[in-house]
Point group: C2
Chain length 438, copies 2
Amino acid sequence: MTKQMIIGMHLGNGYGSQPGAWRMPGVDPKNFASFDAKVRYAQAAERGKMQFLFLPDGPSHVGDIGNEAPHFNLDVMMTLAAIARGTERIGLVATGSTTFNEPYNLARSFKALDIMSHGRAGWNAVTSSGEDVAANYGQRIPSSADRYGRAHETVQLVQALWGSWGKDAWVHDVESGRFANEDQIQPINMGGKYVASRGPLYIPPSEQGQPVIFHAGGSPNAHALAGRFANVVIGATFTIEDAKAQRQAFRDAAEHAGRDPDEIKFIAGMMTTIAADRRAGLDRKIALTGRTFPQRVRYLEQMLGVPLDPSRLNEPLSKQQLAAARPSPMDPRSRNALKIAKEGWSLSDILAHGVIDYHPSIVGPGVEAADHMQEWFEAGAVDGFWISPDVYQDGVDAFVDGVVPILQERGLFHRDYEGATLRDHVGAPAQYGIDPRV
Amino acid sequence: MTKQMIIGMHLGNGYGSQPGAWRMPGVDPKNFASFDAKVRYAQAAERGKMQFLFLPDGPSHVGDIGNEAPHFNLDVMMTLAAIARGTERIGLVATGSTTFNEPYNLARSFKALDIMSHGRAGWNAVTSSGEDVAANYGQRIPSSADRYGRAHETVQLVQALWGSWGKDAWVHDVESGRFANEDQIQPINMGGKYVASRGPLYIPPSEQGQPVIFHAGGSPNAHALAGRFANVVIGATFTIEDAKAQRQAFRDAAEHAGRDPDEIKFIAGMMTTIAADRRAGLDRKIALTGRTFPQRVRYLEQMLGVPLDPSRLNEPLSKQQLAAARPSPMDPRSRNALKIAKEGWSLSDILAHGVIDYHPSIVGPGVEAADHMQEWFEAGAVDGFWISPDVYQDGVDAFVDGVVPILQERGLFHRDYEGATLRDHVGAPAQYGIDPRV
Ligand SMILES: Cc1cc2nc3c(=O)[nH]c(=O)nc-3n(C[C@H](O)[C@H](O)[C@H](O)COP(=O)(O)O)c2cc1C
Ligand SMILES: Cc1cc2nc3c(=O)[nH]c(=O)nc-3n(C[C@H](O)[C@H](O)[C@H](O)COP(=O)(O)O)c2cc1C
């Protein structure tokens, strides 16, 4: 069988990745507080055989709350608990900071989710870098060395706790009255410079043993942490070249840690506005985010290095402007922005293409998303994608019905789940407790 | 309407309060890891119109794991998330330590549960006192002054975070495009000796505003904390006199804090083995815990102050033994133990009466439980009970079908939920943010 891609879906505030998603027709503006809605969107992703849901998290709110919804879930673990009860196969990955959480608490809640979901949990073990987050804990963000130092200790300790109730410890044998083999339930007595715990944790293995480690981070310290522990990297990248370089950095780090580099999958972000054709997609995007375009023009100016007039959103760049434009070397999205501008689109349409979105953005028919994914995948730039639909209400179905069948037709994406656990879905090898090879 | 009692139910490891519950016929010995089972037991309690479920928690395991299940849930918040999705009315109360959790994390997860359950969440805000728990965080248990000092700050800060997204802040008005009134979403910027947080929390009010505060603790420091913040006290007491004294201490503390003492309800523990008659109840209890009786006889000796022979479990105390017996002043259960002994029951039957259980134990027909509850309630010793069924699998239904109807018939317990929220169920006044009266 040829190698196939992994697809995950970002699940955030209950509306979608576009700021205007909450006020679109057909969207319940109260979805921020609706666990039902999130379960429905998760079910839609599962219908599309996606391997996992990815819930980012940063316990804080910053942003234009007057006009836009907060980005995160009310609480990622509670959201995934609801989804675990309402889905059967899809993997459930939540972000949990190693900077502001106790290892014992992380170990317990993620392993409980793993049991609850019958082996579908993943932990995106990140370091927190926002001072807004730190302030919610009455603290400041530590140095990168301290953040990643604590992260190494925390992941190691959590995995030790996961394995502290031995794999075969839970016998629950009614006949003999033996509940567990106590000699397989041992304290871990681990501690380092930052965190410590005695253990044991009192939770038996799940169907996949223990949760899968994900990571998201860009620095060499992040590579080293992921290389040692992660099976999946949640990536952010705008070009095939950069994706290749990032993927290689993580693979190198894994090898450096004594692991098979194929055990670490690099998954790139992608934003989707799937519509009947390009024009319909652009109009949808304008309805969603057009309000922000006048300010965004200012940013586009910097990317292209030419003055632009926010009062003339419906006009394309002039010949003179196009001739003078130079993609900013400070922003990897600039080359694509200039390419779109040269196609003759209006200022509004250029922005509607998502040229300053957080990830490469597909605005148009499903085949364009499939082409993008195929190109990157076959270039060896990524092992898959995590998609951020513009509006969950119909954007998940649009991807599932408009993109997934094309990828399946081309042999790039599986037609059904091969196994029952997240470990199966992402090809992560069996592991229980601390990886003895590391 | 005359005053009626509140009834809560303890929900622990998935088996029941008796050590042998996991291996009883009809019980799935894998229930420790089954969220389905816990949802079923919660639904049974809700059928009985019980006001709340109480989930104790202490992130640790101590005990005879070879023969007995751990006492606690895998994770109380994940368990209540599952139950929130599977029930409609019953209150959902989890224990969360103020000693080893960050206020921001507590505030977020409990308020998410409150949203998810449509206003049914309660937080049993305790201080941790076990060194086994502290060791799981690489720490030692602080002094009582420090534990309660941190508890005061933590509860205050959590309530401030709950109110930091103003009551009417969330407008989600599609027409105008206003998501929220940002002037009603303000940082709290609170900090003390132990904890601090900037806020705001980004979660709107629930149907009950914010979760209800419970407390469990016995010291004067516990009285003061509960008196200031709690609406419900989870109590442990063996006699009407002691219950009266405890209830009064909490009421006095509430008054001292400037509150109406009727705003704090004292709820006593009670263990139930409901059966067709006393003999059937005793036999059930013997099947459940008889294995432990030979050791427990040693403890009964100390309670009664006479030597007893564990090899003669099926014989009653002799005339000489009964004449020499003196209830130990060290153990408030001793007088009841002697009373039972004098009724002529065998050693085994005395223990099967639950005379050394953690709470007063009813072993017999439902009417005996109802009589006990009526006597305590009418004596003004309690505002209600939290019951610990011996085995959840059939013990919840036994209480719901065998005790609840009698209490309803006598006008002591409601026939249906009066309202939709936990605040309604326990008569806790409306509150959002910090109580301005305190
Ligand atoms: C694609 C991606 C997703 C991320 N998601 C989160 C997140 O959900 N929560 C969070 O606190 N940090 C998140 N981060 C931030 C990283 O955890 C980290 O704090 C940041 O990249 C700075 O770390 P560095 O020093 O390794 O670059 C994410 C980073 C990337 C690249
Ligand atoms: C009825 C009752 C239930 C309790 N439940 C818990 C619990 O679930 N988790 C916990 O950590 N402590 C629990 N406690 C312990 C108290 O929180 C506290 O640590 C202990 O009573 C010592 O505190 P004190 O100094 O106030 O007596 C409970 C106490 C009582 C009386």
